[in-house]
Structures are given as C-alpha cells and as structure tokens.
C-alpha cells in the first residue's frame, strides 16, 4: 500500500473513533453556520410559486387535450387507486443492523461529516458550484449508460448532449451551460435500470456513510461506481488522487443536502425516514411503468418486498 493511502486510512479510522466515541463534554458547543439570505430566498420562493402556477396551468391544458385524444380512442395510463397504495408497514428484515448503521451515520455526521461540509459551505459559491458541476458532469457518463440500458433514448441523448456541451463549452464540466440551453440535469443510475426491468426494491438498507437505500439501491450504487471505476474518466477514479477527490465529492454531496440527523428530536426519525424513502421510491417506480396498471397491494406484504 502506498504512502498516500495509509494517510487516508489513518484519517478515516480517526474519524470513525470520533464518530463512535462521541464528543468531549462541554457546556456549550458552537457551530457557525453560513449566513442566511432571507431576501434572496423569498424572491426565489415568489419566482418558484409563479413557475409552479404556470406549470399547473400548462398541465391542466394538456390534461384537457389528452382527454380529447382519449375520446378519440388513444390509450392512456389507468390512474393509481387508493387500494393500490402499498401498506404503511415497510419491508425491513435487517432492521436491527439498519438501526445500528443509522445511528453510526448520525454520529459520524455530527462529529465529522456535517462540520466539514459546513466549513466547506463557507467557501465562495462559484468555487463550490464548479466542484458540484464537475462531479455532476462525470456522473452524466453513468446516466448515458443507464438511459441506454433502460431503452430511454431521448433521455440518453439529452444526457449525452449535456456531457458534450459541459465538457467543452463548460470547460471540463466546471460550468453548466447546458441547463440554460434547455437541457436540465436529470441523472439516473443502475438502481433505476433494475427498477425499469421490474426488480422490486427489496429490503430497506441503510448504507454506512451514505444513508437510506434498499438492496436494489445498494446494488445500483455499487454498479454505478464500478462502471465509473472501469472507465476512469479524467483519471480520477484510480490512483492516489482518487482518495482526495472521493472525499471532495462526498463533502460536496453532503453540503448540498439540507438535512441534519435528529433535528426532529424524535426517536421515530428512523421509522419516519424509512417510511418516506420507500414511498418515494415506489411512486418513482410506478412512474417508470406509466402504461401499466399497478398490482393490487396486499395488506399483509410490507411495502418494498
């Protein structure tokens, strides 16, 4: 093992010790959070409300149009009925391990991941945007592969277009000129490909350092990473620099997620997140199979099984 990797290992294991051991006891601990920007946030909210209202009006128009076409004999997806909703109970046969991992993730986040990401958020925003765009652009390669596997060629072309435009005009992916060119980001991965081919989510799975997922999602993540590892775009997935870049990628991801473990203060947080995560996944699955009627939900089979 080379010297650089040993250092990283030391860093990671030190972090683990902190995460598992908890913090030293002090009466007060301060976290300087990035300043809030209420005026800009409110302006963005107003703009968003207007956009949503316009989108809703457009959707109503299209619906009316579709209704007209349907009358003319066109086929349309049958609506999901309440009886097709999965049960409120979630399939979680590995619950004990998952709870342990969730708790580990929470401690790790509080001790290390969140503070680091919080400091990172104090860097100038163009710099962070560059990092975010760069990793997002690398991920387009995976999206192109998976849209191809899913047989969604329109979307594949869109992702490919984004990758080409952002890698060239966007200077190696540091900028995202594709979005204003009406090619918004729409990432996908191998987990979605498996869903497209009819694989069920399987047991709920909390992945260390990462967070909530399912067995299918875990396989998907591993495959996504494997594909990028094999391709090794920009030589960032192999070699000594891959560790540093991997950490930067992780910090960038964490900084873009507005979540704090146990901000709810509630011991039911595990249950709540599990519930919402699996329902969100199942609704997205149902969206992948738009033209099919969903199977009637069996109240005795937990959601996701």
């Amino acid at each position: 093992m080379r010297h650089g990797r040993l250092e990283w290992l030391g860093f990671v294991s030190g972090a683990l010790l902190i995460a598992l051991g908890g913090c030293a006891s002090q009466t007060v601990v301060f976290h300087h959070l990035p300043p809030e920007t209420p005026a800009a946030d409110n302006a963005a909210d107003i703009a968003r409300m207007q956009r949503l209202a316009a989108a809703a009006a457009q959707a109503r128009k299209e619906k009316a149009q579709a209704a007209g076409e349907q009358a003319a004999g066109a086929e349309s997806a049958p609506p999901v009925t309440p009886a097709e909703a999965p049960p409120m109970k979630t399939y979680d046969p590995w619950g004990r391990l998952n709870r342990f991992t969730y708790r580990f993730n929470a401690r790790f986040d509080e001790a290390l991941f969140f503070p680091v990401a919080n400091s990172y958020r104090r860097l100038p925003s163009p710099m962070r945007a560059g990092v975010h765009n760069f990793f997002g652009n690398i991920a387009e390669i995976d999206s192109v592969i998976n849209y191809t596997l899913q047989g969604r060629l329109g979307r594949m072309v869109r992702s490919l277009g984004r990758f080409v435009i952002n890698s060239t005009i966007g200077i190696g992916g540091l900028f995202d000129p594709a979005t204003p060119m009406r090619l918004p980001k729409a990432p996908t991965g191998f987990g979605t490909t498996l869903a497209k081919y009819g694989m069920h989510p399987g047991p709920y799975l909390v992945i260390p350092f990462y967070g909530p997922s399912t067995l299918r999602g875990g396989i998907g993540l591993a495959a996504d990473y494997g594909a990028l590892y094999v391709i090794d775009p920009a030589w960032i997935y192999r070699g000594d620099q891959s560790w540093g870049l991997g950490v930067l990628n992780a910090v960038d991801q964490r900084a873009s997620i507005d979540f704090r473990y146990y901000a709810s203060g509630s011991p039911f947080e595990y249950e709540t997140i599990q519930f919402l995560y699996v329902r969100k996944l199942l609704i997205e699955d149902a969206g992948l199979h738009r033209q099919k009627r969903l199977p009637q939900a069996d109240p005795n089979v937990p959601a996701g099984e």
Binding site: S25, Q26, T27, V28, V29, F30, H31, H32, L33, P34, P35, E36, T37, P38, A39, A40, N42, D45, R48, M49, L52, A55, A56, A59, K63, P79, V80, T81, P82, A83, E84, A85, P86, M88, K89, G95, R96, R99, F100, R103, A106, R155, A186, P187, T192, Y262, A263, S264, G265, S266, P267, F268, Y270, E271, R279, K280, I283, E284, A286, G287
Partner: protein, 441 residues
C-alpha cells in the same frame, strides 16, 4: 403543540360544519367573524402559511450561530432519546450593542422552523440580536432541559425555559452586548413567553422588558378535547382512518407524478403536488390533526418513560437504541391528548403537588394564572386573528378585555396564516419598541 392548537380550532370548525346538530357544540352566539368557526379560507391559511409575496421586507444577510448546551440539571436520558442530550438554540447577533429578542417556537417544534426563520429575519433586520428556542414540548427540549420530562405544564415549562435562558445568556459569545431583553413566541410559544416574563417579574434575573404573544392559546386543556374530537371526526378513532388518508394521499401523489415528466420526486414536485393534494375542508383538518398527533407521539413517549407510568413501554424494560419502535409508534398513533392527560400528565403532577386536583391542574394551564399581570402591566402584547382556530369566542373576548389596547386582532389569517406579513410584522416591531398605541379592534 402547535399542531394541536390548530387542531383544536379546526376541531371546532369540522364539528360545526359537519355536525351542526350536535348538541355538545355551542352554536356561534355573536354576529360577524366568530372565532372557533374559522371558514375554509382560515383553514387553508393555517396550512399554507403566509404567501411569499405578502412577507414583510427581509434583510439580505442574517448571521447564524448554533449553540448546543449541556445543562447541569439534565436528567438521565432514556436510551431511545440518546441524541437529545443537548439543548440546541440559534443566535443571530448584531455587531454592535443591541436589544435581545428571544423567540419561542410553537407546539412540538424546534428552534429553527420556517416561521422562526421569518421572525428572526425581520427582527434582525430591525436591529435586534435574535435568539430562537424550541418549544418546551419539543422532544429535544424535554430530554435536555425539562426538569420533569412530563411536558405541557405552563408553569413548569416556563420555569425550565427561564432557567435555560439564564444559562444561554451566560454563555453567549463575549462580543455580544445586550442592551435590553424582550420575549416573543407564537402559538403555545406565545403563552410560554408570557409565563417566562411573569417568572422574571418575581426573580429579576434577566429583567425582561416586553412580551409579544402571537396567536397564543388561552386554555391549553380546554383545547385538548376539541383536538381529540377533530382527529376522531376526520380520521376516526382506529388505524383504519389513518390508513385511508394515507392511501388517498399516496394515490394522489402517484398519479400526479405519473402525469409529470420528472425523473425524480423532488422538492418542486412536492410543492406543486401539495397545492392540490388536499381538497376538502375535512382533508385540511385531517392533515392538521395528523401533524399534531405526530408531535404528541414524542411528548407521550417521553412522558411515559420519564414518569415511569408504563402506558406504552414497560418501565422495567425500556426499549434500547437498536430496538424497533414500530410497534410503539403504531400504539401511539391512536393515543389521544386526553389519554396523555389522564394517564401520564395528571398522575405525575397530582402526586407532586399536594392539594391539587384535576380541576386545579386544568385551571393552572389557563392564561388566567397571570391575568392580573396581563391586565395591569403595559409590557404584555397580543397579536391574533378573528378567525384563529385555537380560540373560541369567550377566549378571544377574555383576551380583548384583559389586554385592552395592547391586543391587535386581524380579520383573516386563521392560526399563524399571516405570520410574517407586512402588517403583522410592522405591528409586532411597534409593540416591541414601545411605539404601539392601540390596535384595530
């Protein structure tokens, strides 16, 4: 308890609309916009909050410091609450000496809600240091700060809040220079703020100047019955109603998602869907009742563990950190506030307060307990709405009589549905600065 408070009023509303013939529900006696009879608009305002275009002018930048405090009187922590060891509060400090505004959250909520963020921004913009705090019914407060673990008692919660504020102020960063202290709160937090000021009037440790109560309740436990009824009327007393409501929402979201062109169920989608997922007054009421019930679950579990009542957990074998809480949550979601009162709250406080009865416990949790101060001291203010769901007519009348010129009652907004709008903010700042000279009654 925020949600519980909405729910109370909503309960009354749902009852009156759906079951006007029910003899237990008094018909509105007074003409005009009566409280406790909020209309559809008030319900929707309560759920959606103030539209962004109606929000008062906000500053460009607000600094934010999170403080996690380990309080010396903290009790042993039940295993399932391991993460709630520290009280978490948020400070936005001016660079020069300034008055400090302490803002207390509503039922079941932490000290960093969207409503608190709005209040923080306008107060900071007006030149205050701002400290936002969780409700004493927030589980993180119950575990880290409550000296009993049994939340919901106005006086006890007020004492714990007051003690915590003392520690927080002693540990503020040194460069923060305070010239004066005011307290505010919304919903249940409004009542908490007033109690904190009244405690300070006896102890003089902080010298709190003014208190502004935004949409406060008048009687906590009178409202409880209404809340439970709201839940029962909209969702039923069994799991079946909750399941049905969940299935309806699931199908609604799934269909909207299928009709959309999105690859991910993201925030924009959810915001758009939320605008159309709830349709009837019953659904709005159900959403509010359910939100409250979720907050009550935490209060109930903490109270059960701390008091050793053994209602949902065996006090000799409490659940461990990796144990599933699914069964407990299924049990708790059918537990009413009345049951919390009769099986946990009342037994606990009756035993510790010699001479008390169920009646005195209920009476002690009315704002009347500080009625003389609210009447005689010119530094208490109230902002509320004539269609606020959590008040009935008698309670609003009591507030008006008691506060006199120091209350402003807006025509619309339901419960907190106008918090942060231009008028509410302008009046609130006038009250805090002592510039207020009588409201539009």
């Amino acid at each position: 308890m925020i949600q519980f408070l909405f729910a109370l009023a909503l309960a009354a509303l749902g009852l009156c609309q759906a079951h006007a013939e029910d003899a237990s529900i008094p018909a509105p006696a007074a003409p005009g916009p009566a409280t406790g009879l909020a209309d559809s608009a008030a319900l929707r305002a309560t759920v959606y909050g103030t539209p962004p275009q109606d929000i008062a002018p906000l500053p460009a930048k607000v600094p934010l410091l999170e403080m996690d405090l380990d309080l010396p009187w903290r009790r042993p922590i039940p295993a399932v609450f391991w993460f709630d060891k520290r009280l978490r509060v948020w400070l936005s400090a001016q660079e020069k000496p300034a008055p400090l505004a302490i803002v207390i959250s509503g039922t079941g909520s932490d000290g960093n809600t969207a409503k608190l963020a709005t209040l923080r921004a306008v107060l900071y913009g007006a030149g205050y240091h701002v400290l936002t705090m969780p409700s004493p019914t927030f589980p993180g407060f119950i575990v880290s700060t409550s000296s009993t673990g049994v939340a919901g008692d106005l006086h006890q919660d007020g004492k714990d809040l007051y003690a915590a504020i003392g520690v927080i102020i002693a540990h503020l960063p040194q460069q923060v220079k305070i010239t004066d202290i005011d307290v505010l709160g919304y919903s249940l937090g409004g009542a908490n703020a007033a109690i904190v000021k009244s405690i300070d009037a006896q102890q003089h440790k902080l010298n709190i100047h003014r208190a502004v109560m935004i949409n406060p309740p008048v009687s906590l436990f009178a409202s409880v019955g209404r809340l439970d009824k709201l839940f029962a009327r909209t969702l039923g007393n069994s799991d079946a109603g909750i399941e049905r409501f969940y299935q309806q929402l699931y199908a609604e979201l799934a269909n909207q998602y299928r009709a959309s062109d999105r690859v991910e169920l993201d925030e924009d989608f959810l915001l758009g869907a939320a605008a159309s997922a709830l349709k009837t007054d019953t659904q709005f009421s159900a959403a509010i009742a359910l939100t409250f019930r979720i907050a009550l679950m935490n209060v109930f579990l903490a109270g059960d563990l701390y008091s050793g009542a053994g209602v949902v957990v065996d006090p000799r074998h409490p659940p461990g950190v990796d144990d599933s809480l699914e069964e407990i949550s299924l049990t708790l979601r059918t537990k009413t506030f009345a049951e919390y009162f009769s099986r946990i709250f009342a037994p606990y406080y009756l035993k510790r307060r010699p001479g008390s009865t169920v009646e005195t416990l209920v009476a002690d949790n009315r704002l009347d307990v500080i009625g003389d101060q609210l009447r005689g001291n010119g530094d208490y203010y109230v902002q509320t709405n004539s269609d606020d769901l959590i008040l009935d007519k008698a309670e609003l009348d009591w507030l008006k009589t008691t506060l006199g010129q120091r209350i402003v009652v807006y025509d619309h907004g339901g419960h907190l549905g106008n918090l942060g709008d231009r008028q509410q903010v302008a009046d609130m700042l006038d009250m805090l600065a002592g510039r207020w000279h009588g409201g539009a009654q």
